[in-house]
């Protein structure tokens, strides 16, 4: 499978996750977001960049709990508000959908 952005084709796995992390650009992210029916706002980009930074540092996507904690800290929210905030941005689940837009491989969860 693949997606088409500005005349270039990018390979994805069967679930639509980018195969090569290195091919990610903002335009690719926009296209991936479009497929997920997400309008990218500044908050979306912040989260996507956080994910990419985390992945670069730890070579693994963060657990949802790590995302919620980071947001709660940054925005002074409690855990529940931070979770709701995340789901508003990426309704199908912050881990699955946000990782896709960030160009990370499909998270395997804890197993």
């Amino acid at each position: 499978m693949s997606i088409e952005v500005n005349g270039t084709s990018y390979a994805t796995d069967e679930n639509g996750y980018l195969l090569n992390l290195g091919e990610w650009t903002e335009d690719v992210a926009k296209k991936l977001a479009e497929v997920e029916e997400i309008d990218m706002t500044e908050e979306h980009w912040n989260l996507v960049n956080f994910l990419r930074g985390y992945y670069e540092e730890y070579q693994i996507a963060p657990a949802v709990k790590i995302l919620t904690k980071a947001i709660a800290n940054e925005k002074g929210m409690d855990k529940k508000d931070a979770s709701e905030f995340l789901y508003k941005l990426f309704p199908k689940g912050p881990a699955l959908q946000a990782c896709k837009v960030a160009g990370l491989p499909k998270p395997t969860g804890c197993v």
Binding site: I60, A63, K65, S83, C110, V111
Partner: protein
Amino acid sequence: MSKKIVVLGGGTGGTIVANNLRRHLPKDWEITLIDRDDRHIYQPGMLFVPFGIQKANTLVRSRKKYILPDVNFVIDEITHIDPDKKEVKTKKHKFSYDFLVISTGCKVVPEENDGLMEAWGKNAFSFYTIEGAEMLHKKLKEFDGGKLVMNIAELPFKCPVAPIEFVFLADWYFKNRGIRHKTEIEFVTPLPGAFTKPKASAVFIESAKSKNIKITTSFELNAVNGKEKYIESIKGDKVSFDTLVVVPSTIGDKVISDSGMDDGIGYVPTHHNTLKALKHDGIYVIGDATNVPTSKAGSVAHYEADVVVFNIMSEIHGVKPEEIYDGHSTCFIVYSKGTSSLIDFNYKIEPLHGMFPAPKFGPFSLLKETKMNWYGKLGFEWLYWNVLLAGRHLGAPPTLVMAGKEVG
């Protein structure tokens, strides 16, 4: 160079590593193993306690008995790790090291789940601690029909198949007591399926269906309401219960986060294949304390121990650590008292059908409920105490073996 290895945590992984290193290294290497107590718990047995299949007091043994005499075993709380100074502090002592192995595991923290402590021991329970498993045993004995809900609060958690086994066993147990017809069982998980790996997930969902167990997926726990008897997700969905069994939030040990070495939730960022701490030299991490994307399971700790010993030996001989570990994990999945299934997989290869460990002959069957697998599960406890903890080999490599697996 001084010759000191310190191992933090004397559970499954730490005990195996310390004993295995002791067998390999000459006497001038000093090996120290530190744990806060002398109570080694055979954790897989905690699944059986609620159903009266195993007694809690048979699961606990002295750690010291299973640690080779030439390993310096210290009982103390580890309070700080300083990777730059290569030093570990405990409440009473200080230890310097050339190599450090972190095997401090993970633990459940029910306090982190809103409303859970209010319901704890009344209508909410967990079998992830010995005390919890015993309380649940009492509760299940009195159970006389109603709705039992098994919920996983959050990812990641320990032994990802245990909650599935719990509902299968509950089905067996209530049938046995003749109250299954007036008992509802529901499995509520934050995962998109019964398990993260698609093939195994499909098999488990099929089994659950045939046992009339309801599965609710993608449910992220927000709060427990013990008074009104429901759990609520972040999205606002509610599931009602009479008795709730929960795997509370799980985190790595405090000493990891206090030392500023964690990933945000207490786990040490670890190289997926060498098992070296990503950010520190001379430190290896195994078992539940790592952040590597495979199960937090004893089998994993055991396979990883082999790799860590190999890599420490390599480094001692001036060779770079090798990228050996592949995420290999092997787990029995108990279906009833008398039958079990088995899965064997790694980072890339999901659980498949086939025979294990020998192609054709097994004797164990993969992804299939058999009597033989149950005997395997029972025999494993003996193997754990008498062979594995000693750091002895079973003759198999730590990595996944494809022979005997049905591909495609």
